[in-house]
């Protein structure tokens, strides 16, 4: 043992740099006094988040002691997320959250970045020395591993973990957790699974169960993962990571309505996680549940105020959902939503003033909002500005293009919208997500409420058809097509019923004529459209009958 190791053993605090974040001067000073009496020398004190983040940007900090509740503005969790996200704090540095709580529930539900430890007030010198002392010893022992992880040298980190497992049984939990994560990171699912199962063989621990479910998900063993996660949530209703993973698994299975329910439940338990609210908003959007999506986007935007995860997309999505909801609704509620959409957009433009693409994105939505409220003059004026700016636009993003097309449809520029979508389809012909959205918009270029109405007719029509009420089915599909005349699958549904009816009444040529009229509407259907094969099959069948 050399001398520096000896002095490190004698005074583990001496060599490290500390940062204390607390809004109460008394606490800062008493913390400094306690740290000093533990042997710490390099101690900085700050009162709030901005100063803390600034300090970490220019200085290396080994240990952050951060109060959770810092009054107005960012709290301790916001600071932790920002420091780790911007990599201002290395993995090898310690972040300790100081709270007045005996449980971790107030900070529970953060979707990422947990602190290395919670220190519960009251804290005296002896507690600080013991707790921090053992964390620092642990940090020093595990430093070689964390250093490799900071360097993203994962195979080396795995080797070191395995070596240390035998030497330091007291850090077994940390080592096994890290090992599982590292195996997942490098894609070695077999070893990840074995790591978690080794832990579970000894004791049912929730983190190991969750880890094993991650492996199951990666192996596409969805049913088993879902079962295990449901059982885990049953036992630990406040284990938020389990909800997140369950929702992810259900989504992979295409069960988005169930995924939405799980995320809703998770948000009830822990409403303050921005990324979870955002996930909920996205899932609800894909479920066409605009009300839930809108509320979740609103939460996402609100939670963004102090968060590193704040982004203009959240504001745009909130405004889009409010635009959908307010469209054609001239009651007080509709007006209120329209106004909220406009104010969200203006807030976004101010907050992200450096992003030059936003004013245009904003105008595209504003124009649609005004149109939805019958303010045609404002809507037209904005659209004119947009289309002038669009001419100079070189590469349009898919999001912007789709949004612009929506506005064009809403202001009656159907031809412009269709030609724009045609261009977009060519530009993004490899992106099935974008193509699907283009199809959706071409199928249903109408407002959200009308779209729902048409869908309801479609569902009723299918039910009538299944029950054998062909005439009702025909009438219902026709009603739906009055709203969305170019809808591919609806047109094909109607044709299918008409052909069925023709079987019963072979002499009724009028049925076939209607079929042909309907098919003509779909002439331009591109080959990659999901309804294309059905379209070809039905065309051929009809050809055979009319020949």
């Amino acid at each position: 043992m050399n001398r520096s190791e000896q002095s490190e053993l004698a005074n583990p605090f001496g060599k490290l740099s500390f940062l204390v974040v607390d809004d109460f001067e008394n606490f800062r000073l008493s913390m400094r006094q306690m740290l000093r009496s533990c042997g710490a020398e390099d101690i900085q004190l700050v009162a709030h988040a901005t100063a803390a983040i600034q300090h970490c940007s220019y200085n290396h900090v080994d240990v952050v002691l951060c109060d959770y509740n810092l009054g107005e503005g960012k709290n301790g969790q916001h600071i932790l997320e920002e420091l780790r996200h911007k990599k201002l704090l290395k993995r090898s540095s310690l972040f300790l959250m100081v709270t007045a709580e005996t449980s971790k529930e107030m900070v529970m539900g953060a979707r990422e970045y947990q602190p290395d430890a919670y220190l519960t007030k009251p804290i005296n010198r002896a507690v600080l020395e013991k707790r921090l002392g053992s964390l620092i010893r642990q940090r020093n022992t595990l430093l070689p591993i964390n250093r490799e992880i900071d360097r993203e040298n994962y195979p080396k980190a795995i080797t070191l973990c395995l070596e240390m497992l035998n030497k330091h049984p007291r850090y077994k939990t940390w080592l096994m957790k890290t090992l599982g994560e590292l195996y997942l990171e490098v894609g070695d699912l077999a070893h990840a699974q074995k790591t978690y199962e080794d832990v579970l063989a000894q004791r049912e621990l929730s983190w190991a169960r969750l880890g094993r479910c991650r492996v199951l998900l990666a192996n596409r063993q969805f049913d088993e993962a879902i079962n295990d996660l449901k059982a885990l949530i049953e036992k630990h209703p406040d284990y938020m990571e389990a909800y997140d993973l369950l929702a992810e698994t259900l989504e992979k299975q295409g069960k988005t309505p169930q995924a939405q329910r799980i995320l809703e439940k998770a948000s009830e338990h822990s409403p303050n996680a921005l990324l979870r609210q955002k996930h909920l908003a996205e899932v609800a959007t894909s479920n066409q549940d605009v009300d839930t999506a809108s509320e979740a986007w609103r939460q996402t935007v609100n939670l963004g105020t102090y968060s590193i995860h704040d982004a203009p997309d959240h504001y745009l999505s909130l405004a889009q959902s409010l635009s959908d909801l307010s469209e054609g609704d001239l009651d007080a509620e509709g007006t209120e939503r329209a106004n909220e959409a406009l104010s969200v957009l203006s807030k976004m433009e101010k907050r992200f003033a450096e992003d030059e693409s936003l004013p245009l994105r904003s105008k595209i939505i504003q124009s649609r909002v005004h149109a939805g409220q019958g303010h045609n003059r404002e809507a037209e004026k904005l659209l004119k500005e947009v289309s002038t700016e669009m001419e100079n636009q070189q590469n349009m993003s898919a999001d912007m293009g789709l949004d612009y097309a929506k506005t064009l449809f809403r202001l009656g520029r159907d031809q412009d919208a269709k030609s724009l979508l045609g261009k977009l389809a060519a530009q993004f012909d490899n992106d099935s997500d974008v193509l699907q959205q283009i199809e959706g918009l071409l199928d249903e270029p109408v407002g959200f409420r009308q779209k729902l109405k048409a869908r309801e007719f479609n569902r009723d029509g299918i039910r009538a058809f299944e029950e054998g009420n062909l005439d009702t089915a025909i009438k219902t599909f026709e009603k739906a097509l009055e709203i969305v005349p170019d809808h591919a699958s609806l047109n094909l549904n109607l044709i299918q019923v008409l052909l069925k009816k023709h079987q019963q009444e072979p002499s009724n040529r009028a049925l076939l004529a209607t079929c042909q009229k309907r098919l003509k509407r779909l002439e331009g259907l591109p080959e990659q459209h999901r309804q294309y094969r059905r379209y070809v099959a039905l065309s051929q069948k009809l050809k055979g009958l009319t020949a």
Partner: protein, 226 residues
């Protein structure tokens, strides 16, 4: 204004929560005061009493919240693996200023073992038990940990007069057995026993044992965790 639908237990719980945090601040100030005035306060009986009673109230309130959440079926054990000697010395650390002030000797005798438990819940139980032992001991306090029959056994021993006959027992307490008329309600033991029972592994369930004797010849509190 008669039907306000006040959920009194929730009002209580949130008030208790507030008081608990307040007391936390108070205890912090006491710790600082003791550090700043070492000479004058080292053996001041009044000051020791102040600190002991503040700790006791704080523990009671933590316990009360725990029992409230138990009643709401809202308390879950988040079991993880911990290195027991480290855990015990961290628990004892909180009481060191008071122990020193009262001149009580303390020691930890723990095997180098890992145990499975919820550290927050166990912290509540041990704070309470240690605080209680401080009250009844003469001069010594001892924390122990061992592995027995596949259970982790954590013990708190003192050299006081020991537990009265009526309190010595083994196993799980239920709420109805509490005597609210007598001076001591054993609410703390009920809490400890409930926390112990929340720790289970297969068929085996945690429990507490109270008896007299041990190394120090006084009261012995043991919590058995599977």
């Amino acid at each position: 204004m008669t039907d306000q639908n006040i959920d009194f237990s929730m009002v209580l719980a949130s008030a208790v929560h507030d008081m608990k945090n307040s007391l936390g601040m108070l205890i912090n100030s006491l710790d600082e005061l003791r550090m700043d005035h070492k000479e004058a306060l080292a053996h001041s009986n009044q000051f020791n009493m102040l600190q002991y009673e503040a700790e006791r109230m704080h523990n009671d309130l933590v316990q009360l919240l725990g029992i409230y959440r138990l009643g709401q079926d809202n308390l879950v054990a988040n079991v993880d693996e911990h290195f027991v000697p480290d855990f015990l010395s961290e628990q004892l650390a909180r009481h060191v200023p008071l122990l020193d002030g009262l001149g009580i000797q303390y020691s930890i005798e723990a095997d180098d073992i890992n145990g499975f438990f919820d550290e927050h819940l166990l912290t509540g139980v041990l704070n309470n038990t240690i605080n209680n032992a401080i009250r009844y001991t003469k001069s010594q306090l001892r924390l122990t940990a061992r592995d027995e029959d596949g259970y982790l056994v954590i013990g708190v021993e003192d050299d006081g007069a020991g537990y009265p006959e009526s309190m010595q027992h083994t196993g799980t307490l239920n709420f109805k057995s509490l005597d609210f008329k007598g001076g001591s309600t054993s609410l703390g033991l009920f809490f400890a026993s409930s926390i112990a029972a929340m720790h289970n592994e297969g068929e085996r369930i945690g429990s507490i044992k109270l008896h007299n004797g041990g190394e120090l010849g006084g009261g012995v509190f043991e919590i058995w965790l599977p």
